[in-house]
Symmetry: C2
Subunit: 486 residues, 2 copies
């Protein structure tokens, strides 16, 4: 486990600052300037400082994540490893002394990757790397050999018209790095909808340039969404390197042919669970601040950053508050959702099963943007909600969490709560390098900086605690007005 | 092929500057300061500028490299792809109008990687990634299952004493990035000598943390050297991620067991060739400036940076001089060496076969440090040699090639020439990211910046031309005095 020592000075700075201002100020050598006079430290700042000090000493988030990533590893919904993660999380919440710890039943898809291979067969013979997209159909056992046609958008695909028939479509668009992951939003639409778009024009399979921001010969898996009434063609991600090679060969006027074989299988749904634990509120226990992340991961790598980091941050937030005796006014409920990656069944099931309680959910916060430096929060609430969070989060400025903005992307698992008016908040980490490793074999513990993870855990704990005490609560999301029939 | 346009302005700057100072200066608006007065442009500077202008327009080095990497790809000694590379290089030299183009016979080892697999079997079951080290023996067909003991140096290995017996040794030392690749020198010794060191203490196999500077779940292959009279145990590289995981598990007090299977085979030596071409000298054709790189690569990736870039730079240097009619005073001879990676047979054979001619080799320059920004030259010559090269290379200052220093690491292929006194020079590129991709599946064309490659080709052409005209020639390497018998 990497030592926190190297970053201790950085982390301690705000703690020491707050500790210092509690002491009587020493007699000044020279008359102090007004701007440097000690100011009153608020109760809120002391809470933030205590959380940070505890997390630094305990390294609790890091310890939880190390176990989840190293000992359990990849945990795709429906696998024994996912059930191992459920059992571990329940045990861990209990060891941390939390209340009402339970698994809540969720039926999940059970998709198996199987064996896969791909190769360039013309104009050169070359091995390639591949990962099937999650939920893809298989190819016939002998595979598919076909010419590749390339497109970098749906418009470009449509412009190809009949040239797509009988061919393999390659969506070849580069995902650019961005602190907020903006590039991913654009290219993930190609991945989700691409197979059906290509099939509509007669394609026999779909490939996509990996949605990654680094060329490291790593295919990046991810989910697809087949449309009804369109042939379900097999779909897979290839590496940036191989996509570039195909592009160069096509630019040179060559006809490029590949052989693709995917052995995917979809089994009947399996029973799994969201894992839930609570820190009961002291005066309004029936009102709930939900904090969450997703417990499942893809079946490659170890899901350390997607979303092991969020799981550790969520679990540790409750433990920190419990350990420090910071009993919130409202109940803080942690939910570790199952099946975010390939079905969102956990998020949907939670919203459905807790329907009658959702009016008493005053906020939901998710951590699912990796393990980078925490930047702030995206807030999706009623008018003025972002301003409320900005004010509440002020004691976190010493940790650099100053970017509080209106944003609809609070987290996939909590998105279904919006329909009931629940304000949703995304704890946002710097995603500049998140997509370098996202959904690959390289999503492993070494990609996590323990000091940044600690800061995220503190931020989650603090904002949940503040929202649990906030009066009035956050303005709720206005109901979406359905278009009037006419 | 990526356009050069984006970097054209940068590259053109020195050309335009030199072009500008040839024009009559415009009437000054204000009296010019002495420092800004136009100065005489030397003939040497005009040559450098012409070379650069030609390379920018032709993109010749990039075109050659794109063909070698994309169309031929990996080309391990003894494979059909290596022979394809030999045939291509001969054809290309002839198309470029060069003299005395030929293959010179070299017998090379023929090693085959075969199938390989590795997995953690305790305390957790986990798939791992692996590449056998080049020239490794196979494991028994069923593989080897054994406990792992870890060491980060030979001293640490020796300290383990009898704990090594019957175990698999993991050399787990991080290679740090460095512009001159300094970290690699240290860790590559573990790779070369590690198998025999471990076997001496009774190890049954040897693993090494990949000699790479980025955690990208990429194993990095590379050669080993078995000692005589020591059991030849199988040896392989694992990824940084898996090495870190094993380290964390061992730190937690666990006994770590892996299963390793390598299907390597070594066949009888095969016939291959160094490829040689010349630009004949106009007044001293029997005196030779050798420029070179190695044509073979490992069997993974496409050898784009190791050493496709050097091959392209060497071939293009001759073509540039030929195209521009810059006939050198001495002969410039390009040698594309075979088998640098796993035997150095090309370099050794050249030195042996040209023994009687080596007194007339006035210098040898190799390009085998990747495709980064060219920084300058390492010079291994007689006293004052580096200073001579620094003076000769002055017209390249506009390209940023100012780091000319004494260095013994001129290039593996030309190292055998030192015994005959031949001054050797390494064209050095910035290696900060070279070992991110070195000897992996990710050593592909996208890792090469066309503008930097062009600068390297110009640097090679210019310095070869300057050395071919230099009077007196570079001071030769002093003979190594053998210890007197007593």
């Amino acid at each position: 486990m990497p030592p926190l020592r190297s970053t201790a000075a950085l982390l301690l700075a705000p703690v020491l600052f707050l500790a210092a201002v509690r002491l009587p100020s020493p007699p000044p050598v020279a008359p102090p300037a007004a701007a440097s006079a000690p100011r009153e430290v608020t109760e809120q700042e002391r809470v933030a400082a205590r959380l940070l000090a505890e997390e630094m000493v305990s390294q609790g988030a890091w310890r939880k994540l190390a176990w989840l990533a190293d000992r359990i590893g990849a945990r795709l919904s429906g696998t024994p490893q996912a059930e191992q993660a459920v059992a571990w999380a329940i045990g861990e919440f209990r060891r941390d002394g939390l209340s009402r710890v339970r698994g809540e039943k969720v039926m999940v898809p059970r998709w198996e990757r199987g064996e896969a291979s791909i190769a360039l067969v013309a104009p050169v013979s070359r091995s390639m790397a591949v990962l099937a997209l999650g939920m893809s159909e298989a190819t016939p056992p002998a595979g598919i050999t076909a010419e590749v046609v390339e497109a970098d958008s749906f418009d470009a695909l449509h412009a190809l018209g009949d040239k797509v028939r009988g061919r393999i479509v390659l969506f070849n668009k580069v995902t650019r790095p961005d602190p907020h992951g903006a590039g991913y939003g654009e290219t993930s639409t190609l991945r989700h909808r691409g197979p059906s778009e290509a099939a509509t024009q007669g394609a026999v399979a779909m490939l996509i340039r990996s949605l990654g921001t680094l060329n490291a010969r790593l295919p990046h898996t991810g989910s697809l969404s087949y449309l009804e009434d369109v042939p379900r063609i097999p779909a897979a991600a290839i590496t940036a390197e191989d996509a570039d090679l195909i592009h160069r060969l096509q630019q040179a006027g060559e006809t490029v042919t590949v052989h693709l074989r995917l052995g995917c299988r979809t089994h009947p749904d399996a029973e799994s669970a969201n894992v839930v634990a609570e820190l009961r509120g002291r005066s309004r226990p029936d009102e709930i601040v939900l904090i969450g992340a997703h417990l499942d991961s893809w079946d490659v790598g170890t899901g350390a950053t997607d979303d092991g980091a969020g799981v550790a941050v969520t679990m540790e937030a409750l433990r920190l508050l419990k350990t420090l005796g910071l009993t919130p006014r409202r109940t803080i409920r942690a939910v570790l959702f199952m099946n975010e990656e390939n079905g969102l069944r956990g998020g949907k099931t939670y919203a459905a099963d807790h329907q009658e309680e959702l009016q008493r959910h005053v906020a939901a916060i998710e951590s699912d943007s990796g393990a980078g430096r925490p930047l702030g929060f995206f807030v999706n609430a009623g008018e003025g909600g972002a301003e409320v969070v900005r004010t509440l989060a002020r004691p976190l400025l010493g940790l650099g969490l100053e970017d509080v903005r209106v944003g609809t992307d609070g987290g996939s698992d909590i998105a279904p709560l919006k329909a009931a008016g629940v304000p949703t908040i995304g704890l946002r980490q710097d995603m500049t390098h998140y997509f370098d490793w996202h959904h690959t074999e390289a999503d492993t513990l070494d990609k996590v900086d323990p000091a940044e993870l600690a800061k995220s855990a503190v931020a989650m704990a603090y904002v949940a605690w503040a929202l649990a005490g906030s009066e009035p609560p956050l303005p709720r999301v206005p109901p979406v007005v359905a278009p009037t029939a006419h």
